[in-house]
């Protein structure tokens, strides 16, 4: 009687997405990032070796992060008034493999700056670092549709990951990303059905699946994390099961979300039994990020340097 085979076999797989283009590929990046390519669940090398390891992108802003918690601002205080220096710091000091920029300065509530400004900021970013880039609009539909075409064109050929296409606003971003050779974030509001639908809409516009990264608006530990986790896990399982529209790498904004949690940032003076927030804050981000990795996330957008370094070590130790 042979010992029964307990390893899972999957009919499908996760498509490989390359972000960033070198000079040989029509861009100016000195490195590229490949995500996806898996034939099995993450961190189970005995089941299916192969596929690309998850990567961390430092998540920065184009403006001084006035709304951030002091603990989060402190490590970046010498660089955050200049997007180029900030990005360079993250690449050189924190060794991140990507930079993600949210164009907060274009948001109607925080500066409402125009498309030319956005184009100049991303050009500066592009010139400051050689790693692949993620550029995220404001999330305000009219503003993004005005700003992102110029951003896309300023980064033409760099194979940037642009965000975000949603169910009700995807045509403009899809068309410019197509024209300028970029990748797209397809975003859904913690809804697996809509997540799939956005991917269908993008493929209807003939946007290739190997240029899409899925994003389910992330919930931090204690703030919808379990829901995000189960959706992401189900997406991954469906993709591995053969659903091509779900067999797409995933992205999560763990840093941003974790630092919204009261448990991350409430001062020790108010909650003495919780211990120091200087340890607790990064820990909250780390725990959120690690959970996301286990659900199958391929690109983590992170904030605090200590959290970034710890999760880098975690990936290096567990990924084979």
């Amino acid at each position: 009687m042979p010992i029964p085979e307990v390893k899972e076999k999957w009919a499908g797989g996760i498509v490989e997405v390359q972000i960033g283009a070198t000079s040989a590929e029509g861009g100016t990046r000195t490195s590229v990032v490949k995500v996806g390519g898996h034939k099995g669940l993450p961190f189970l090398p005995f089941e299916s070796a192969g596929g690309n390891k998850p990567v961390i992108a430092a998540h920065i802003l184009d403006i001084v992060p006035d709304e951030w918690h002091p603990l989060l601002k402190e490590p970046y205080k010498s660089v955050y008034n200049d997007v180029g220096r900030w990005a360079k710091f993250c690449v050189e000091e924190l060794k991140v493999e990507m930079i993600a920029l949210t164009l907060s300065g274009c948001h109607p509530d925080t500066g409402n700056r125009d498309a030319d400004y956005a184009a100049s900021v991303v050009t500066k970013l592009k010139e400051a670092v050689g790693v692949p880039l993620i550029v995220w609009g404001t999330g305000v539909v009219e503003k993004d549709n005005a700003v992102m075409p110029k951003v896309s064109s300023a980064l033409r050929g760099e194979r940037v990951l642009l965000g975000a296409a949603t169910q009700h606003n995807y045509k403009t971003l899809c068309a410019v990303a197509q024209a300028d050779g970029h990748c797209l974030i397809s975003e859904a509001p913690l809804d697996i059905n809509i997540g799939k639908q956005v991917n269908i809409l993008l493929s209807d516009m003939e946007f290739p699946l190997n240029r899409i990264v899925m994003f389910q608006a992330t919930g931090a530990l204690g703030y919808g994390f379990e829901y995000t986790y189960s959706i992401q896990e189900r997406q991954r399982l469906a993709g591995l099961g053969g659903d091509k529209l779900m067999g797409i790498p995933m992205l999560a904004t763990g840093g941003d979300e974790a630092w919204k949690a009261k448990e991350a940032k409430a001062p020790q003076s108010e909650f003495p039994q919780w211990g120091s927030e200087s340890v607790r804050g990064p820990l909250w981000e780390i725990t959120t990020a690690v959970g996301m990795l286990l659900s199958g996330v391929d690109i983590l957008l992170m904030r605090h340097p200590d959290a970034i370094k710890t999760v880098q070590k975690y990936i290096a130790r567990l990924w084979q």
Binding site: N193, I194, R234, A238
Partner: protein, 265 residues
């Protein structure tokens, strides 16, 4: 869902004529359309009219492989015709089909092992199609035991519980529902369950409606494959919808389009 497209069969007049005239266009057009419609396999049957059946099988396989990547289901009751197809097939095939007699299963499973092929096994033997549940299950058990003896993995086995035309024996569909459920309990993971779907409506009016109603019923009982007319859009839509309702795929507003895209190879 594993749809085995039935149209390239010498029983159809256009295919019979194309085989006689060596008219590639007719065959390749059917191959492309069926692949596009979501076929997981293209059934290839030379029919009974062709004088040189092995030659016709080789010609069909090569003609189809020129235009699509979809794997083939080599369909003949004659072993030498299947072997002729296997000689020229450029990827693992599904052999259609073998009865549940132990000596026949030995021959076919040995061939499957050698060629990494899958096999459709009928729950009938030399005594014919049984009228009850128990005999069909006996046959299914023989099939699974034989497969194990030959080290053929269970995912390579497609068990066909045999559909008779509804106007021949109307008690059959209900029996088959039970047979499907029982076969699925015989092994973990279960074998694939398939059927000659169009057979159920043979000679009846409203064939498409009967076929698509049957596919939904049997899919709910656990049937995951069918030899059918994939060009019947309403049939495919009903089957996909049943799979969606069974939580085998994730719902989205355009889930049918998504399913077809996933099914295409």
């Amino acid at each position: 869902m594993i749809a085995i497209a039935e149209r390239i069969n010498g029983m159809f007049k256009d295919v019979r004529q194309a085989i006689a005239d060596k008219n590639k266009k007719v065959i390749q057009d059917l191959a492309r359309r069926q692949a596009e419609a979501g076929a997981a396999y293209l059934d290839v049957n030379v029919g009974t009219a062709a004088r040189d059946q092995t030659g016709a099988m080789k010609w069909l396989v090569e003609t189809i492989q020129e235009v699509v990547k979809t794997p083939l289901a080599l369909d003949s009751q004659k072993l030498e015709v299947i072997k002729a197809g296997l000689e020229v097939a450029d990827k693992p095939v599904l052999i259609n089909s073998c009865q549940a007699d132990p000596e026949k299963l030995d021959t076919y499973f040995a061939l499957c092992s050698e060629k990494n092929a899958s096999l459709i096994c009928l729950t009938m033997d030399k005594e014919g199609v049984s009228q009850d549940v128990a005999k069909r299950l006996d046959n299914a058990m023989t099939i699974l035991t034989k497969a194990q003896e030959h080290n053929v993995p269970v995912e390579h086995i497609f068990i066909d519980p045999i559909f008779l035309p509804v106007n021949v024996d109307q008690r059959q569909p209900k029996i088959i529902l039970e047979v499907i459920q029982q076969i699925r309990l015989m092994s973990d993971p279960p074998p694939h369950i398939t059927c000659g779907l169009s057979n159920i409506s043979q000679g009846a009016a409203n064939r498409s409606l009967i076929n698509r109603t049957a596919v939904v019923m049997f899919a709910a009982a656990g049937m995951d494959s069918a030899i059918c007319d994939v060009l019947d859009k309403e049939l495919m839509d009903a089957w996909i919808t049943a799979e969606m309702l069974l939580n085998k795929m994730i719902y989205s507003d355009d889930y049918i389009k998504a399913a077809i895209a996933s099914l295409r190879r």
